[in-house]
Assembly symmetry: C2
Homo-oligomer: 431 residues x 2
């Protein structure tokens, strides 16, 4: 793992390169993805079944074979180890409790003249969750996507997940049962996004699609955006750590590796004002790497995309981190809460030495679906808001129109919109 | 204007067609727009100046000529009629007051073991507003886009607007001055969206782009989505009116026309349980049309895309309207508030006979940038939320990690992520 000093002459250049982390070349796959989507749109299930044979290497016997039997989910739930079931329940409860605090309320206020303004909040009718399958089938992703939709009050939740060789992760099925989800389809990749965006004979058209995925899924989400809403376009995972001399190097090292093991493209960056800590973290990373099950992935990620930056003070460290706007930000300093005011851009902020990022991945409560690649500058974590929409409310009394009508009509007139003007004026006329 | 009865045999087919209203064939212009964006990305100002010469028929003398002199805005503000200035101020104040109510707050909560969860709300650094120019230069659009950004606390607001033949609307300039906006650029169309998304030598890269525009602007916004955030992809304007026998046909007619005059592609749909009202509205529309300045546009829109649907009762009318999910929904019935609970999908809801839609376009307070083409099923009105983002907050105490650590480590282990597991376990070890 390389150490850079922010005072180095070449640092601006190196930092610029770090800022470009995780950029996905969507253009490269757009044509392929657009073609897959077109097939789904035009042929529905027939195209889905063809894509499954091609990408997941099994042939659904009929359209019904696309869907998982809910009884299978109930059986999976019963079959898993009790302590695992308890852990899933604890995660579910805590995620639910946190997301309930994010639920906006409808509201209205009356003015003195009796007019009313407000906002009505309603859930979308149908949500589609994309959950990666195969090697990277994470039941935690199901919880993190389903619970906000449940809390929002979405009536129907649809799940699509790829099942390579027609195999499906038992824990994922158990999590679906726990969430009360009935409609799970064995469809993955861009085809799944298309199916949920357009609808097929079997898979209902949804209003919002959320969930992680590879570049094909991300590109498909971008292409169907507007047809449906989406949560965000997510790239490889990443962590930024701000640490001072109070941090334990072995803890910092393990937290860096917990992102690195996700993906060779993942990026793990430590920024510290303590050159000694930097050196010791490098050693600890090396020591820990060899013990990991996913050593090869983590090693490649940390060597090619990891970085340690030594700054002259924590203010400079925070400034650099704000420019990075990491998906996950750990603040491992003596007084982390004192720095919170200066932190502007990050998907999730993990404060203090006892808050390892994985606690947020599974069980703390906040969502683990977070903006990557610097998009924390403008995107928010996945939330109940993604499964809701709002309608403005306006009710004018006659007195209200009399109070505002002239100014309104004048503005409409000035913009040359005479029917707008007349629709106000007509209400001001003597009866 | 045509009247349909929901009991007609052919009605489902007709209704299906109405639901397809406002669909934009983005594919058709994608190639052109992508090429324009690529030029902006690679050549910056040089491409901008070339595009201005081509589309707006004037040649900026230098890069500085792309920007409006703030002194010109101050002069415009002083030059407009006092009553117009007052109307703009009234609109500004009311829009500001409403949007202040939409401002979410940062929050946090401590658990018994001292751990803390919360959410930090921060504005984006820079917002870019696209405001159409030329014939359709609406100062109201500037207010509706700028005020939410101001209320959100955005540090720098950038405006791009096309200036055909190098002419710029005085009222737009006055509105910019009123909003305290200093950076206004004479750039329009897809080029403007590209300039704000990528940045040029003169125009800063922004984090969020909002504002209305034609199909080229909408397509450009879709293409840069992910690079920056956007508000929504908006199509032609539309109104849906739910009315019963208590509605005045002349008022209903004028409100339908107030959308129709926007655009030949605009759609105006009345659904009523009163066949007599339907007939009288048709007559009133005909009477009013000839008096409009924009008669030709309104006539084409109302004839080709307008519709009156007669249902057997209001429940059926509401059900159809929910399927339409109109941008603007007027409820012109005897007891509009009684119906509010059944209304699920609409950008803005105008309740009662004294609430013409234009009052919401200019002065009521809620935003006039609203989801079109049925996207009110999943999009919300433009809001302060578009200019903000949130960061999850997690701070665990040692006791907190001890309480949740085992379950968390078990879930991580089950997903095969051993570094995740270790980063939790390492904190549970005896010191």
């Amino acid at each position: 793992m390389k150490i850079y000093n922010s005072k180095d002459e070449r640092f601006p250049e190196i930092f610029e390169e770090l800022l470009g982390r995780g950029a996905m070349d969507i253009d490269q796959v757009t044509e392929t993805v657009a073609a897959l989507l077109k097939e789904i749109r035009e042929e529905g299930n027939a195209a889905l079944r063809r894509h499954i044979a091609r990408f997941d290497r099994w042939e659904p016997a009929d359209d019904a074979a696309l869907q998982v039997d809910p009884a299978e989910m109930a059986m999976a739930y019963e079959a898993i180890a009790p302590e695992l079931r308890d852990a899933l329940h604890l995660a579910y409860d805590r995620i639910k409790a946190y997301h309930e605090k994010l639920l906006p309320k409808s509201w209205f206020e009356y003015e003195k003249n009796g007019s009313m303004l407000g906002q009505k909040v309603t859930p979308v009718d149908r949500a589609g969750l994309y959950i990666p399958g195969g090697k990277a089938a994470y039941p935690s992703s199901l919880l993190m996507n389903a619970v906000p939709a449940i809390v929002a009050g979405v009536e129907e939740i649809v799940v699509c997940t790829p099942t390579p060789d027609n195999e499906i992760n038992v824990l994922l099925l158990a999590a679906c049962h726990l969430c009360g989800i009935k409609k799970v389809f064995k469809v993955g990749g861009a085809s799944a996004i298309g199916a949920m965006a357009y609808g097929t004979e079997t898979i209902p058209k949804v209003d919002v699609i959320t969930g992680p995925g590879n570049i094909f899924v991300a590109t498909a989400k971008k292409l169907v955006y507007g047809e449906v809403n989406i949560d965000m376009i997510a790239g490889p995972s990443e962590i930024g750590i701000l640490a001072d001399g109070s941090a334990r190097p072995d803890w910092v090292a393990m937290d860096l590796l917990s992102q690195a093991e996700h993906d060779e493209m993942a990026s793990s960056i430590l920024i510290t004002d303590d050159a000694e800590l930097a050196k010791r973290v490098v050693d600890e990373v090396e020591k820990a790497l060899s013990k990991l099950e996913r050593e090869a992935i983590a090693r490649k990620s940390i060597e090619e995309r990891g970085a340690i930056i030594v700054t002259s003070d924590m203010a400079e460290a925070i400034d650099l981190m704000n420019q990075i706007a990491p998906e996950h930000l750990e603040v491992m300093t003596a007084s982390p809460m004192e720095l919170l005011g200066s932190i502007k851009h990050a998907g999730a902020i993990f404060l203090g030495h006892y808050t390892p990022e994985p606690i947020g991945d599974y069980i703390a409560g906040p969502n683990h679906t977070l903006p990557t690649g610097g998009t924390a500058k403008f995107y928010s974590p996945l939330s109940v808001e993604h499964f809701l929409k709002k309608s403005s409310l306006i009710m004018m009394t006659e007195a209200g129109v009399r109070e505002l009508g002239d100014a309104c009509a004048l503005l409409a007139h000035t913009e040359g919109l005479t029917a707008h003007e007349a629709s106000v004026r007509i209400r001001l006329e003597e009866k």
